[in-house]
Symmetry: C2
Subunit: 130 residues, 2 copies
């Protein structure tokens, strides 16, 4: 996995196609799905079966976020302008968050989680993703 | 369809699930897919068949953009913080564009297409999408 993705996130769950990871930014509950296809950059680099599976995993991640935290809106995005390895952001947004209504990227300095809080959230999300 | 989506875009093609429209911003070749499910806000508000179809249409839009314009990266996103009606952005990015490597939303003032140019691009994309 790309070193920056690894460094900025913690493990949540291994789904059939993707590693689900939690972004270490307490401003937003923010999952990242990283398909275990390290040479790929685009959704359309996946074959049709993997694309369908990715959609199922986006849906699972979305449902898990909504079950565990309060969200007014989900943001789902595959950008990859900075980190080229294919990854999908699934972010729970609230109208009181640090960037609302703007997209989160580059909007506010990352905010560290209190000690243990990211791991606790990751465990709760993993239960819903499993 | 949401009035703002309609006002900012022109028609490209009617896909089985979505209207494909071209954003009127010459900074980026930018398609928007609007599923004909006007009451929905989230991808997970779609049923499983529609989600799978949306993934196929995202792929078709991505392939059409790459066939018609030069792109270094595709950006695919369902945000909806400003316009709540479910819609998916499929944007062709280049390293020389007005926002690179940032996301496009809010990054640069929209740039009008020269007269007729948006319609010509929409026709070329429609041929690839059809």
């Amino acid at each position: 996995m790309d070193a920056r993705l690894l460094a900025e996130t913690i493990a949540v769950a291994e789904l059939p196609l993707s590693a689900a990871r939690l972004m270490g930014d307490a401003n937003y509950p923010w999952l990242i799905l990283v398909p275990r296809r390290p040479a790929l950059a685009e959704i359309i680099d996946l074959d049709a079966d993997d694309r369908a599976q990715l959609m199922r995993e986006i849906s699972r991640a979305s449902e898990a976020l909504r079950a565990v935290v309060s969200c007014d809106k989900l943001n789902v995005a595959a950008l990859g302008n900075m980190v080229r390895q294919l990854h999908v952001h699934v972010i729970g947004r609230t109208k009181s968050d640090a960037a609302w209504p703007k997209p989160v990227w580059g909007a506010a300095p990352p905010k560290p989680y209190p000690p243990g809080a990211a791991e606790a959230l990751a465990r709760r999300l993993a239960e819903r993703l499993g």
